[in-house]
Structure formats: structure tokens, C-alpha cells
């Protein structure tokens, strides 16, 4: 099936292959007869051996051999049963048949499994198996069947990890281009680290040598990928924080807010499970609230998420005067919060903020004007206004979250690597080398002070990604996405840099919907968004005129009430699935996107859907849709927008947004006042 040259079949060829096929068919039907009638005579076993020789992938034939083997063992005479040699003969015969089959096709799953099955019966020699392996691994150093079998034998015969590690060293020294050897090395080193074996723990002990080993490989042949992938693993081992921790929250620690009902968002460094009443306490003044329910802001089966949400209502009673409530959110049994890798959080954290309640507050007024995010409707933010206070507090006080301390060895190791690879790039135009340098520079900034993000190398990194877009156009979009993320990291790194993109709404009556400030990230060629942990305060967001196909992560911004996504690359309603979590959303613009224009939906399995068993199919939809239920777009819109109170919606410029669909939307969204600029009646 693979690697056979194309040639027209001549009549001679066709005749020959027809004869061959007829021969095999006859063998096959004889064999099947024997198999179904449990016939294990010498003749029958020979027919089987012939068949396996011609087709080692024929599973049924291997099954028969196992039955024949068991039959041979049980059919021994009493004398033979005592004779270990006789048993060995039977085993050796099987191993011979497997070896023959493997010589014909050393990738046959059936053959390798049969060998494992026979070896597991005992009575086999380790030396023999290792010799066989050496033979196959020399023939093809990348044969993963052989590597898997090697791991099986090492496990069965208790060959030490260190011995196997030496084997990979030998293979790598023989030929650097051996991804399989590097891979096995990473597996063995992880085991040794996990078992805290001396010489391999703590990890900085082996990392230095490994960096050197990899450097030899990539300096010898910078275009071979194998070493570079291994380097990425080493870098990850160097900088990664081994356990989950809290990174940011809404409301921020030390802040003061005025809503009596508000969301609380906990944002971790990675997806976690187990945020609940036992692990996190919510205290208002002296009362610990017991009716708090936390839910992860994500669509998956096992309640795991990077951002977690609950809602709190302050019971402010009948007093006429204003009152301030102290609220504390605290980790109680933090080890109950576990990462998706099973690592518990051992950090204790607490967040304290004030809720200022004024009794003569105004109910949320319904803005009668349409909200338009055009340049004329904005002005720069008055830095002396109290709009700035909440914004300031978020950045100045975020430092109170205890972060794991970075170690000196990490920064030294990375600094050394940066020097080495700068040197390599001075004489080799190597794309993965450039990418590695960009990653090293970002790592360097990341392990700096975790609180005030270090952006020393951002400019150089952005330049590297721009160069990569030209050097390796096949992977242009990968570098573009990385560029967007780094760019946003820089924007969100300080209040000064954020202020450049913040605007105030001129029209003040709208501000109870839009909030006082809008973060305007429009027209920045963004193909991807990130840094959500630093944007939890955002109420109004303009992402229009970018190149976004996805808004993954936006679900963490629970205060979002106005969102402009017009003129992007949103390809389906499922791509808007994060919006289902944004219960405060009132104004949404998704005009001029690509909804309905694609036959392939790349968000299909990353959202709440019956296909991924993360959402039940709502049978009420069929009644509701009354005739349109077969149109998938209608189901998707129903699923995503169904629970939202959107007042103003723009959908024009999407293939899916025809008249019939717009009628459906009006039916679906009872709070809708404006659709595509027209009043809804």
C-alpha cells in the first residue's frame, strides 16, 4: 500500500496476480475451515504458517496460532510436560515464526503482539530479545514497534531506566537525527525525576547536561528537527510552575465596587477542578455564605476550567443610609483544587474587597439610543476622573497574590541558552532556531518578577516573529498568532500601556450599559486574543477590524456588556460559544464575518454540543424552530444565544443572516430592541 511505483498492469502482470490471489484464497478457505473446526494437526498448522508468511497482518491467522499453541501445550504427553526443553521447543517455534514474519514486514502489529503474548508465558531469554531488537533498531532507528517492544522487555525483565538511558545516548551519538531516541530519553528522564533518583533530582542537575547534548546536535545540523523539539521540552522543564495557582480575580484584591449583585471570577494559571464550598469560602462581614455555587467557565465533561465563576448578592436590608460591606474570598482546603494533571494546589490565597451600597441607587436604565463604536463617539480618558480608580486598583493591588518564587538557576540557565542560540543564528539562517530564540526570550521575561510582567524583550520577540513570517510562509499563521499574543501581553502589562487603548464614551447616558470606559483593540491585525487574566475588569470591548476566527477565553470577562466583533473571521456560531457564559452582554456586533460561509467548523468540538456529549440536545428547539430545525445554523444560534438578554445586535454581512434567520433571532431574543440598525417591534 505504501511506496509502490505506479505502473499500468500488463496482461502478464494481471494473470500472475490473479493466479497468486487464487492460491491464497484457497489456502485461506482451508485455513478458515480448520479454524472453525478447531483442527490443529501438523498439516493445518503448516497451512497457517504459509498464510502468515504471505500476509502477516491477517489477525485471524495469529489468533489461530495462539489456540494451536495452547493446544500443543495441553496435548503433551505426561513425560513431555515435565520436560522443560519440550516446552521451550514449542515456544521457540512460535518465536521463529514471528521473526520470519517480522523480517517480511517489521511493522506488523499482529506479529509484534504475538511475540509479546508468547514471551509473557515465560521461558524466554532477555539476551535473545535484545539481540532481535538491536537488529531491527539498526535497520530502522525510527521503528516505533521496536521501541515499544523494547520498553515492554525493559519492563518485563526489570532493565533499569539508567541502562536504557545509556542506550538512547549511544543511539543519539551515533546519529543525532533520531527523534525516537530523544523521545525515549524524555520519558526515562521524567521517570527518574519522578522517582527522585539521585543524580536526576532536583531537575537542574540533569538539565545542564541535556542542554549541552542538544546543543551538539543542533549545532551540527541546524535543519534537523529532532533536537529542536527536545530543546522545547527542556525549556518547558526549566520554566514551568509545577502546580496550579491563582493568578487574578474579579473583583481585585483591595478594590471597592458598588453593585449589590456581581460576579466573582477566580482565574488560575491552568485548568483546575474542585473549586467548591469546601475549598473556597465567601465571607460577607462576619457571615460565611453557604448558598454559593461555583461553576467552571468552560464546556467540558468533567467540571474543569481555568476561570471559575459564582455570583454574590449583598443583603443590604432596609437601612436608609449607605453602607460598606467587607467581603473576603479565601482558599480553605486548597489541596482540593487540582490541575487536570492531578497536581493539587498548595498555595493559600485570600482576596478582600469592599462593596459600597448606596440606598438611593438608580435601577439599570434602558438606554434608548443605539450604541455605536465609531471614533467620533469616543474621547480620551480623563485621568482625573473617578473612572480611573477601579482601573488603577486592579493594577496596583494585584501584587498581593502570592506567586511561586523564581529560582536563580532558572534565569542563569535561560540567559546562557539565549547567548548560545544568538551565536548559532549569527551563522545559520534557521527557522526553528529563530523560533527557539523567541521562546527563550519570552521565557526569560516570564520568570522575571511574575507580578509586574517583564517586557524587556518584547520588541525583539515581535521582530523575530515578523522575520519568521517571511522566512517560513508555510507556517505564517502560526507566527502571526504568536505575534498577536505577545503584542497583547505587552499592551496588558501595565496601566500606562493599557491607557493608550482605552477610550471614554462621550454619550454619558449609555454608560450604565457600556460602563465608563471602552478598551479599543480594533484594527490591530490581531489573529488571536489572550492575556485575559489582566482584562477581567473590561465592560466594553472593541475588537472590530481584526482577523479573529475565535474568541476562546473571552468567557472569563464576566462584566462584558458591549462587544464589537465586526469585520473579523468568525466562521460559525459555534465560534461564538464563549458568549453563552456572558450573561451581562447587551450589545453585540458580529456583522461582516464569515458565519455560514464555511463547510468546515473548526470550533465544533471546543464548545458545548451534543456531539461532544457536553450538552443535551434540547428537544424544545424543534418546536421553537417550527420548520427550520434542520438548518444547523438555527440550532447553533439557539444554543449559544438562547439564554442571553441582548438588546442590540448586528449580523449583516454574514452569509447565514438572511431574512428568515433574522426573524428567528427576533423570536429568540425577547429583549432585542435593535437589529442591524433598525428598531424591532
Amino acid at each position: 500500500m505504501h511506496g509502490r511505483p505506479r505502473k499500468s498492469a500488463t496482461p502478464v502482470d494481471e494473470n500472475a496476480s490473479a493466479l497468486k490471489a487464487a492460491k491464497i484464497r484457497s489456502l485461506q478457505s482451508q485455513f478458515l475451515q480448520n479454524h472453525h473446526n478447531n483442527i490443529y494437526t501438523k498439516e493445518a498448522q503448516e497451512i497457517n504458517a504459509k498464510l502468515i508468511e504471505s500476509n502477516p497482518e491477517f489477525m485471524t491467522a495469529w489468533n489461530y496460532r495462539k489456540l494451536a499453541f495452547e493446544h500443543n501445550l495441553s496435548n503433551q504427553s505426561e513425560v513431555d510436560k515435565e520436560d522443560a526443553d519440550h516446552i521451550k521447543l514449542i515456544i521457540d517455534e512460535e518465536l521463529r515464526v514471528v521473526e520470519n514474519a517480522l523480517r517480511k514486514n517489521f511493522k506488523s502489529y499482529g506479529a509484534w503482539h504475538h511475540r509479546k503474548w508468547v514471551i509473557s508465558k515465560g521461558n524466554s531469554s532477555t539476551e535473545r530479545e535484545l539481540r532481535l531488537l538491536n537488529l531491527f533498531q539498526k535497520q530502522d532507528t525510527r521503528n516505533f514497534h521496536a521501541w515499544n517492544y523494547r520498553r515492554f522487555i525493559a519492563g518485563l525483565k526489570d532493565i533499569s531506566d539508567e541502562k536504557e538511558l545509556q542506550f538512547t545516548t549511544d543511539m543519539i551519538n551515533d546519529n543525532f537525527s533520531n527523534y525516537s531516541a530523544w523521545h525515549n530519553r524524555s520519558v526515562l528522564l521524567s521517570h527518574l525525576l519522578e522517582k527522585k533518583v539521585e543524580g536526576y533530582f532536583p531537575k537542574e542537575i540533569f538539565l545542564k547536561e541535556e542542554y549541552e547534548l542538544v546543543r551538539n546536535a543542533v549545532f551540527t545540523d541546524p535543519d534537523d528537527q529532532s533536537g529542536w523539539f527536545y530543546h522545547l521540552w527542556l525549556l518547558d522543564q526549566t520554566i514551568k510552575v509545577d502546580m496550579p495557582n491563582l493568578v487574578s480575580s474579579w473583583p481585585p484584591n483591595g478594590s471597592e465596587i458598588t453593585n449589590t449583585t456581581f460576579p466573582i471570577v477566580l482565574f488560575f494559571n491552568e485548568p483546575v477542578e474542585g473549586v467548591n464550598l469546601q475549598t473556597v469560602s465567601v465571607q460577607v462581614e462576619d457571615d460565611i455564605f453557604k448558598n454559593i455555587a461555583w461553576s467552571p467557565l468552560s464546556a467540558n465533561k468533567f467540571k474543569c476550567g481555568q476561570a471559575w465563576l459564582t455570583h454574590l448578592t449583598i443583603p443590604f436590608g432596609e437601612t436608609n443610609s449607605s453602607k460598606i460591606f467587607q467581603v473576603k474570598i479565601r482558599s480553605e482546603y486548597s489541596q482540593g483544587i487540582i490541575s487536570s494533571n492531578g497536581v493539587p494546589c498548595s498555595q493559600h490565597w485570600s482576596i478582600a474587597f469592599r462593596v459600597s451600597v448606596c440606598h438611593d441607587f438608580q435601577p439599570e436604565g434602558q438606554s434608548l439610543r443605539r450604541i455605536l463604536m465609531t471614533d467620533e463617539n469616543f474621547s480620551t480618558v480623563d485621568i482625573n476622573s473617578n473612572v480611573m480608580d477601579l482601573f488603577k486598583s486592579y493594577f496596583e493591588l494585584a501584587s498581593d497574590y502570592e506567586q511561586p518564587t523564581s529560582s536563580k538557576w532558572k534565569s542563569e540557565m535561560i540567559a546562557s541558552e539565549i547567548d548560545q542560540y544568538r551565536e548559532l543564528l549569527s551563522w545559520a539562517e534557521c527557522k526553528i532556531g529563530k523560533l527557539t530564540l523567541a521562546r527563550l526570550l519570552m521565557a526569560n521575561d516570564a520568570i522575571g518578577t511574575p507580578v509586574a510582567p517583564n517586557t524587556t524583550h518584547v520588541e525583539e520577540v515581535l521582530k523575530l516573529y515578523s522575520e519568521l513570517m517571511e522566512l517560513d510562509p508555510t507556517h505564517y499563521q502560526y507566527y502571526k498568532d504568536e505575534y498577536s499574543l505577545v503584542f497583547l501581553k505587552q499592551v496588558a502589562s501595565s496601566k500606562e500601556s493599557l491607557m493608550k487603548y482605552c477610550r471614554q464614551y462621550k454619550e454619558s447616558t449609555s454608560s450604565n450599559i457600556t460602563g465608563p470606559m471602552c478598551l479599543r483593540l480594533n484594527s490591530l491585525s490581531l489573529s488571536r486574543i489572550g492575556s485575559f487574566e489582566r482584562l477581567l475588569w473590561v465592560q466594553s470591548l472593541d475588537l472590530s477590524h481584526n482577523q479573529l476566527p475565535s474568541i476562546e477565553g473571552l468567557e472569563a470577562l464576566q462584566l462584558l456588556s458591549c462587544l464589537n466583533l465586526s469585520h473579523n473571521k468568525i466562521g460559525s456560531f459555534m465560534a461564538l460559544d464563549p458568549l453563552r457564559f456572558l450573561k451581562s452582554l447587551r450589545v453585540l456586533n458580529i456583522s461582516y464575518n464569515e458565519i455560514g460561509a464555511h463547510t468546515v467548523d473548526t470550533r465544533r468540538y471546543l464548545c458545548s454540543s451534543p456531539l461532544s456529549h457536553t450538552l443535551d440536545y434540547d428537544k424544545k428547539f424543534e418546536e421553537f424552530a417550527a420548520g427550520d430545525e434542520k438548518v444547523v445554523n438555527f440550532w447553533e444560534a439557539y444554543s449559544v444565544f438562547g439564554g442571553l438578554d441582548i438588546m442590540q445586535l448586528d449580523v449583516v454581512g454574514n452569509v447565514a443572516a438572511d431574512e428568515r434567520f433574522k426573524l428567528f433571532l427576533v423570536k429568540l431574543l425577547p429583549a432585542l430592541k435593535w437589529l442591524d440598525g433598525e428598531e424591532v417591534h
Binding site: E57, Y109, N148, R604
Partner: protein, 285 residues
């Protein structure tokens, strides 16, 4: 290739459906032949009289799904056959002889999902086992510690997608490993430093689509590579330009082109490997 005839049937029939030509075959004949491959245990063999195995069982179910005839099956019987093959650690054996491989985890999960019988197995343990096969490069192998390979990655990603567990996947890390499968010629290989092959147009591509990173490859270049692997005289697609064609690579080439939105082809679902309208019919009604 008689031993995997039922796989061949699935490849051929699905290709026909993507090309809009499924009506060219006689449904009755096909279905009765498929049913003749069923073993008394409830599982299906690769051909009449062959021993049952998960790999062939999935193809049987998929073929019936194409024709909207899943109700031809004794669903209880097939589901039981599949569920008894789950092991203590959550892994699946391909058949009673015990070979364990994440391919079989995918096959079991996909089969039972199509039959709406996922609750017959311990999904949590099945997922745990798959996650234990995750490697440090973000990919997946056949068993814990095995090297990442595009075929295995497709199986693990597909299984995690169907069970709503993609949060266990580092999409950026894996996405980069997968996009680096695209070589200069525009084709995709299955692992670093290997030759491109049309079948990886399915395994790498569908994985990239499921984790939403397909925009990290050059789609146009890949379309060109697949089209270059056609035998324009006699029809069919081969693994590489100018090699011999076969139904396996024809299916993966056409399915790949469908995923790349090549005009005139029906859309195919990247996780269940069946046309989207077939999947929507099963899950959205």
C-alpha cells in the same frame, strides 16, 4: 487485503458519499454482506468467517450509519461486545487476545457514541488511560511512553473530542507539532523527519481541525499535493505522486480535500470520520 475487506468497504463507501455518489451502490447487498461479517459474540470480523475485532466492528457501524440503518443491529449485543473489551485501567483490548492500543480506545468510544451507548463503558477511566499516553511533545502514542505518531494522535484527539475532554490537550503545543508535519512539498508526514504521505492529510488535518489549529498550515499547498497524487488516467489516489493507487489513500485524499473545503465535496466530520449530515442526523434530532 481480504482480511480488512470491511475497512475497505467503509473507505470506499464514505468516499462515494463525500463525492455525492453513494446511490451508485446497492444498499441491500452491502448491508447484508456487512451483517454476514458479524460473529456470534456480537463483534465483526474483517470478512465473512474471520474473527471479530474492534477495528472491524467500527467499520461495520460506520457503514450502517452511512445508510441510516444502524437499527439493523442488535445494539445491545454489539455494545456488550465492545464494553467487555475495556480493561481495569480504562484501556481497550482489540479483541479477546489482549493487544492494547489507543487506536482501540478511539474505536470503542466512536462506536458506542454512534450507537448512543457510551454509558456502557467507564468513560472517565477510558479518558484517564488516553491521557496517560500523552507525551511531552504534546502528542500521543499507542501506549504510555510510546512515541507520538499522527495516526495515534488522531485516535486520541478524536476520542477526547467525542467525550468532551479536549481540555486535557495542550492545543498550542500539539498544534505546533502537527503543523510542523507540513514539509516543503506541501504534503504532511506522520512524525518528524519522515516522508509525506496522503494518508496523513487525514490524520494530521483532522486533528488540527478538532483543536482549531488548522490555519497553522498552508492549506492551498496541501490541496496541490493531494491532487498531484491522483492517477488521472485510471483514477484513484496514491500515497505519494507516481506511486500505485489504492482505496485507502483514495479515501484519505478525498476526505482531506473535504476538510480543506475543496469545492463540490460533502463536508466530513473530523472526529467521527463520517459525513457531517450523517453525524447531525444522529446527534441533532
Amino acid at each position: 487485503m481480504e482480511h480488512l475487506r470491511i475497512n475497505g468497504a467503509y473507505w470506499g463507501l464514505t468516499t462515494l458519499d463525500i463525492l455525492g455518489k453513494l446511490a451508485a451502490v446497492d444498499q441491500e447487498t452491502v448491508i447484508s454482506w456487512v451483517m454476514s461479517c458479524q460473529h456470534e459474540s456480537g463483534g465483526f470480523g474483517g470478512n465473512e468467517g474471520h474473527d471479530p475485532h474492534l477495528l472491524y466492528t467500527l467499520s461495520a457501524i460506520q457503514i450502517l450509519a452511512l445508510f441510516n440503518k444502524i437499527d439493523t443491529l442488535d445494539i445491545e449485543k454489539v455494545s456488550n461486545y465492545i464494553s467487555t473489551l475495556q480493561n481495569e485501567d480504562g484501556s481497550f483490548s482489540g479483541d479477546k487476545w489482549g493487544e492494547i492500543d489507543t487506536r482501540f480506545s478511539y474505536v470503542a468510544i466512536c462506536s458506542l457514541a454512534l450507537l448512543k451507548q457510551l454509558d456502557k463503558i467507564n468513560v472517565e477511566k477510558a479518558v484517564k488511560y488516553i491521557v496517560s499516553c500523552k507525551n511531552l511533545d504534546g502528542g500521543f502514542g499507542c501506549t504510555p511512553g510510546a512515541e507520538s505518531h499522527a495516526g495515534q494522535i488522531f485516535c486520541c484527539i478524536g476520542a477526547l473530542a467525542i467525550t468532551g475532554c479536549l481540555h486535557y490537550v495542550d492545543k498550542d503545543l500539539l498544534g505546533w507539532w502537527l503543523c510542523e508535519r507540513q514539509v516543503k512539498s506541501g504534503g504532511l508526514n506522520g512524525r518528524p523527519e519522515k516522508l509525506p504521505d496522503v494518508c496523513y492529510s487525514w490524520w494530521v488535518l483532522s486533528s488540527l481541525i478538532v483543536i482549531d489549529r488548522v490555519h497553522w498550515i498552508d492549506k492551498e499547498k496541501l490541496v496541490k499535493f493531494i491532487l498531484n497524487c491522483q492517477d488521472k488516467e485510471n483514477g484513484g489516489i496514491s500515497d505519494r505522486p507516481d506511486d500505485a493507487v489504492d482505496v485507502f489513500h483514495t479515501y484519505f485524499g478525498v476526505a482531506g480535500l473535504s476538510l480543506l473545503e475543496y469545492p463540490g465535496l460533502k463536508a466530513i466530520d473530523p472526529a467521527y470520520a463520517l459525513p457531517v449530515d450523517v453525524i447531525n442526523r444522529i446527534f441533532l434530532h
